[in-house]
């Protein structure tokens, strides 16, 4: 059963395509990572799914949830979906929460709005949810304001709000970047458990590859507004086929240095919007780029029979968009 299907999603910022035709499918109960550097379109993809794009930024294509295209919904209809079957956890919990409102009430708000619960029932459910995200003394915590909680506790409250209406899809954009390592580990474990138990699908957006390796089964690697590689985390991380994925992995691995004791890096930097090259988006930074790369590579698998445009990538389907894919031996280690 499928949770969310994204087909040919295009997001344009002032007429410039920032996300150029992204397609993927989130399986229910599945945990998918979306990785890439800043400026690659990860967060715009998430905001487009949530219908939260700022003014002047438009999305086209389709985002199918329960047979409806979310991009066609009116603002009012989208309000009924958001926080209900589609929920999001943001990076910075202090700005995601209302500082003037007790946290219990913020959780209850969502239940009253989407589930029509009365105040007392929603309040009781809010306490249960705080307990569910492992906050100690949930009754007392429900009566606190966000500033009275630590960063990790606030992020748990945000998670409780997201889970309040049993979402089908949970989108988490850098949910642990602002947290300490031990708090991050607790939070990742909690998200992993809750997603498994609720049967929701998780889209985890991060630039931290080890976090994806810890939680996700599948990974989408994004660069220049396109998905350049996808597949099971183990396969992609053990044997990347796209040079961008290999570069990311090599610069993440701080325990491997070259002969002169230097860390591997990706040459150059992410171009700003509209400055990406035609053809292969990575060709101005790629060590293997040649004249063939002027043509846009398709996101396709290895076997010739599978070659061709993957309108919707199947779960765990290995694909990459490269004319000169790396071979199976690990590169950069």
């Amino acid at each position: 059963m499928s949770g969310l299907t994204v087909e040919n999603l295009v997001v344009e910022v002032n007429g410039q395509p920032a996300v150029r035709g992204v397609s993927f499918e989130l399986d229910s109960g599945g945990r998918t990572g979306l990785i890439g550097e800043s400026g690659c379109g990860k967060s715009l993809t998430a905001l487009a799914l949530m219908g939260l794009l700022p003014h002047g930024v438009t999305a086209s294509g389709s985002v199918l949830l329960d047979g409806r295209n979310l991009l066609d919904l009116s603002d009012k209809e989208m309000c009924r979906v958001r926080g209900n079957s589609l929920a999001m956890v943001f990076q910075e919990p202090m700005t995601a929460l209302n500082p003037m409102m007790r946290v219990g009430k913020q959780i209850a708000e969502s239940l009253r709005m989407h589930r029509g619960m009365d105040r007392a029932a929603a309040g009781r459910r809010a306490v249960e949810l705080l307990d569910r995200v492992r906050l100690p003394e949930p009754e007392q915590t429900a009566r606190k304001y966000p500033h009275q909680l630590s960063g990790g506790q606030r992020q748990r409250v945000v998670l409780a709000i997201a889970l309040a209406c049993d979402p089908v899809v949970l989108v988490a954009d850098e949910p642990t970047t602002a947290l300490d390592v031990t708090v991050q580990a607790q939070m990742l474990r909690l998200m992993d458990e809750l997603v498994r138990e609720e049967g929701a699908s998780l889209l985890l957006i991060t630039h931290d590859l080890p976090v994806v390796a810890s939680v996700c089964e599948e990974v989408l690697v994004m660069y220049g507004g396109t998905i350049v590689e996808t597949g099971l985390v183990r396969e992609v991380f053990d044997a990347p086929r796209h040079h961008y994925t290999a570069g990311l992995l090599a610069s993440t691995a701080l325990d491997s240095v070259d002969g002169s004791g230097r860390l591997a890096t990706i040459p150059g930097r992410v171009p700003s919007l509209g400055q990406f090259p035609d053809g292969c988006v990575y060709r101005n930074r790629c060590p293997r780029a040649d004249e063939v790369c002027v043509a846009t590579p398709l996101l396709s698998g290895d076997e010739p029979s599978l070659t061709g445009d993957l309108a919707v990538s199947q779960i765990g389907r290995r694909a990459f968009a490269c004319h000169h894919p790396l071979h199976d031996d690990r590169v950069g280690a």
């Binding site: 550097e37 800043s38 960063g151 300490d180 390592v181 031990t182 708090v183 991050q184 580990a185 607790q186 990742l188 474990r189 992993d192 630039h207 931290d208 590859l209 080890p210 976090v211 390796a213 810890s214 939680v215 985390v233 183990r234 991380f237 570069g247 990311l248 992995l249 610069s251 993440t252 691995a253 701080l254 325990d255 491997s256 240095v257 070259d258 004791g261 230097r262 860390l263 591997a264 890096t265 990706i266 930097r269 992410v270």
Partner: protein, 293 residues
């Protein structure tokens, strides 16, 4: 793994003679720092919080020293006190044998020149209304260092891998990694002996992070710097540092050679901290569950 030990062996050759020279370049003895919380009642004063609770630390010239710990462990308080930006409630700080805690600011000019700092977020640590040239030459004029500022700025920009035609640009015209390079150039300007870096790569993307770490390693070697890294990112500290101190609740719970602590942590807290670091192997959740049990 093998690369990591190579690097430590390599830097030992450079720092070897300095290490045995005796006096540590930066030393804190029995440091205590207490803060008073805001008053909650009209009758009683606010509660006292011990941010540092008897910390002693000795950093040798030429080494790369890491201070790790979580938020609230006291690592930033310690770095501020070591730089004499804050005064300890008790204890002494010495720089190259000279006492700097409790000394008047006007007698600390030597320290302001010799010890420089790099902060986490270059967007907030660089004045947005100053051009790059002035940002980098400001410490030179502030400290009254007599040299051709224009030449020095060009030299520094080259050292951090930027071209010298950027002097007339403003910080917002650069990417995060380039801004951090500017912050590093500014820190290097007065020719310091010690650089204290508080989470210098935490705000950067992985690929840029590797570039900045390479740059810091090169510069430390080139300018024979002592580098003090304050970070919560244990993989970064492991890569860069010869020795580390692990802080928890205002105390140093464990200190020693980096590789030794990573391979054989003696304290339960250190083990828990190391178990919480996600790796590309993806075994975090099992590992963490075990360490938690």
């Amino acid at each position: 793994m093998k690369g990591g030990t190579d690097r430590v062996a390599g830097s030992d050759e450079v720092t070897g003679p300095d290490r045995t020279s005796g006096t540590p370049i930066l030393e804190g003895v029995d440091l205590v720092r207490e803060y008073r919380m805001p008053r909650r009642s009209l009758r009683e004063p606010g509660a006292v919080v011990r941010a540092l609770d008897g910390v002693s630390i000795a950093i040798e010239e030429g080494e790369t020293f890491g201070i790790v710990g979580e938020s609230g462990s006291g690592k930033s308080t310690l770095s501020r006190i070591l730089m004499a930006l804050d005064q300890p409630t008790e204890g002494t700080v010495r720089y190259a044998g000279r006492q700097v805690s409790g000394t008047r600011e006007r007698r600390l000019r030597f320290l302001r020149r010799d010890v420089q700092m790099i902060l986490q977020d270059p967007m907030s640590s660089l004045n947005p209304r100053m051009r790059v040239g002035r940002l980098i030459s400001e410490p030179l004029s502030a400290l009254g260092i007599d040299c051709d500022h224009r030449d020095r700025v060009g030299e520094l920009l080259n050292a951090v891998g930027l071209s010298d035609d950027v002097v007339d640009r403003y910080p917002h015209q650069f990417s995060g990694g380039q801004r951090q390079r500017i912050a590093i150039a500014r820190a290097l300007a007065p020719g310091p002996r010690v650089i204290v870096a508080d989470e210098p790569v935490s705000a950067l993307d992985v690929s840029v992070r590797a570039q900045i770490l390479n740059l810091l390693t090169d510069l430390a070697e080139q300018f024979r710097l002592t580098l003090v890294m304050v970070s919560h990112d244990l993989s970064v500290v492991r890569y860069l540092c010869d020795r580390i101190a692990v802080m928890h609740q205002g105390r140093i719970v464990e200190t020693g050679d980096t590789e030794q602590i990573y391979s054989d942590p003696q304290q339960a807290y250190t083990r828990k901290l190391l178990a919480a670091v996600p790796t590309l192997e993806g075994d975090l959740l099992n590992r963490y569950a075990r360490s938690d049990a």
